[in-house]
Structures are given as C-alpha cells and as structure tokens.
C-alpha cells in the first residue's frame, strides 16, 4: 500500500506547490516598509522649486505618494487612474518625480493633465532608494500617523484602485 501511497503523496504535493508557483508574482517584491514610518524627505516642488515639501508637512492627513517620471511609459497608462483617484478629493495625491528632467516633467503634466496636489523632484533617485522604489510607477498609501499602509507596484489599474487601494483608504478615512 505504502509503495503507491507515498509516491502519489509526493506527486500531489509537488503538483500543488508548482500550481501555486504559477500564480506567484516574483516581480512584486514585498516592501519591508509596510507598517513602518514613511522615510523622511524634504524636496523642492516641481511647480515652484523655491518651495519645499517634506514628509513632516503631511502628518495629520491620509495621503498617496505616486512615483512617476516623464520617461516612464506605464505612468502614461496609469495617469488616467491616478487622475480619477485625485478627482474624488478623498486624499491628497503627491507625485514623486523620479530621476527626471524638470522641464520634461512639466511638459508631461501640461500635455496629459496634472492630477497631483504637487510633485516633488527626486532628481538623483536618492529618496526613491529610501522608499525602496525599484521600478516606476509605484504608489504608496500613507496614514495620518505617517505610517506606510500599502504599496502598489506597477501601474495602478481601475481594478486595483477599487479592489486594493480604495479599501485601504476607506479604512484610514473612517
């Protein structure tokens, strides 16, 4: 009996694991920053470079940080969804303009529309590294206590906005 049962059990276990492996997303590396305080930054605003925005300014409100760049193709695809989120006026959406030319970034916003309350300039990508950014676009949800609650890797779609981001926001705002 064990002659057949044991190999069968091993086979079923292997198939189970491989099946699960098919649906894992190795490209989405879980961020160690979830439930940790948002890394601090103080950066110039794209619209008015003489003014700075820092993470301390955002404490007390729920906000979204969207990492974007004019050279990033999927940011263009995501732009419509981010605009939709911003138009609901639930939370402040801040853009982190990652490794971009300010002139290109400004032109990009003029061309497609500016959904951001403001965008801050991370010219050399150092703030990006602090936030564990490894691909653009990425989107973070930060609570009023300054803690990162959720990170979305890759372009936000209508589906991921409704199913992943909105529930987190609703919970934070309630």
């Amino acid at each position: 009996m064990i002659r057949f049962a044991l190999p069968l059990a091993v086979f079923v276990l292997m198939v189970g694991l491989l099946w699960r492996g098919l649906y894992l997303k190795p490209k989405e590396v879980p961020s160690p920053l979830i439930d940790k305080a948002a890394p601090e930054f103080s950066l110039s605003m794209l619209e008015t470079p003489s003014r700075q925005l820092s993470t301390a300014d955002m404490v007390g409100q729920v906000w979204v940080l969207n990492v974007w760049a004019s050279w990033c193709v999927s940011c263009r695809a995501e732009h419509e969804v981010i605009s939709e989120l911003a138009s609901r006026n639930l939370v402040t959406v801040v853009g982190l303009n990652y490794k971009d030319e300010p002139a290109d970034a400004t032109r990009w916003l003029q061309q497609f529309g500016n959904p951001y309350a403001t965008s801050v300039i991370d010219r050399d990508g150092r703030v990006g590294i602090d936030w564990g950014v490894y691909g653009v676009p990425e989107t973070f949800v930060i609570g009023a206590d300054g803690v990162i609650k959720y990170k979305h890797i890759g372009p936000v779609t209508h589906e991921s906005l409704e199913k992943k981001i909105m529930p987190v926001l609703k919970e934070l705002l309630s």
Partner: protein, 152 residues
C-alpha cells in the same frame, strides 16, 4: 603574411567585456575588496537574477553608487547590507541571513540527508540479516523438487 597576421589580430582581438562602466577610486585595497564583495552579493531588483555588479540597470548603478559612498564614509559591510535590507527587504540578499524564517532553507538539505541516511541504514540492515526459513516449509519444498524431477 605579416599584414595578414596583423589583420587577424584586429579581427579576433575582442576587448574584455565589462558590465560595470563606472570606475571608482578607493582609498585602500580592503575597501575595494569590500565593495566588490558587496555588489556581488546584492541583487538588482529590476532584473532579479543579476547581482549589482553584473547589472546595467539604472537602479543597479544608483545602488552601486550608494554602496561606494557608504564605504567611503567609513561604514562597515554589515551597515551597507542593513541599509539595503531596510529598504528592499531580504530579497536583495543573494546569501540569505540565518534567522527563524530561513532555518528550513539553511538546514533543510542536512535534514534531508539525515532522513536518507536513516532509510539507507535501515535497508542495509534488513538486507544483511540472515534469512530464517521455517524447517517444515523447507522440507516440503525439498519434497516438491524431488517429485518434479522426472525420469529418475
């Protein structure tokens, strides 16, 4: 002939391929060794199956710069690794740390070896044991053999 040789030299001489373009200057050979070790053991998150030293991705270049600058500031290898893990998680390490959720990863092969050794020993013991045969059954078998021999 001589010209041909010269031509061949140019045609077949391939400059050594190098993925890392930027050159950093180090204060000491030790620091350079540390740098090389670190960028060999840290993973580039964009390409996932390349380390920082092999990757030409933008992020890999930035992380090499970060590694270099931290070493220049006198930070230890351990501090650089902690810096990366804090931001990108354990996934950046090609050599996972030994901690509670990696015990199975590190010890699993040895456990498996122990199990296989146990099974092997058990099987060998069973094989070397002399076979005991019931005397009555032996006599019966002998009788059967004698009966089957025809023509005698």
């Amino acid at each position: 002939m001589r010209n041909l040789l010269l031509l061949a030299t140019f045609v077949f001489w391939v400059p050594p391929l190098q993925a890392v373009i930027e050159t950093y200057e180090f204060e000491s050979a030790q620091m350079e060794a540390d740098y090389k070790k670190l960028i060999d053991e840290l993973r580039c998150l964009v390409c996932q199956n390349q380390n920082l030293s092999a990757s030409d991705a933008d992020l890999a270049r930035d992380l090499r710069r970060e590694t270099y600058e931290m070493l220049q500031q006198g930070k230890s290898q351990q501090q650089v690794v902690e810096f990366m893990v804090e931001r990108y998680g354990d996934f950046v390490l090609y050599r996972p740390q030994f901690k509670s959720n990696t015990y199975l990863l590190w010890l699993g092969p040895f456990l498996l070896l122990l199990v296989v050794l146990y099974l092997l020993v058990r099987r060998l013991r069973a094989a070397s044991k002399p076979v005991e045969v019931d005397a009555a059954a032996m006599a019966e078998a002998k009788q059967l053999l004698e009966e089957k021999e025809p023509g005698k």
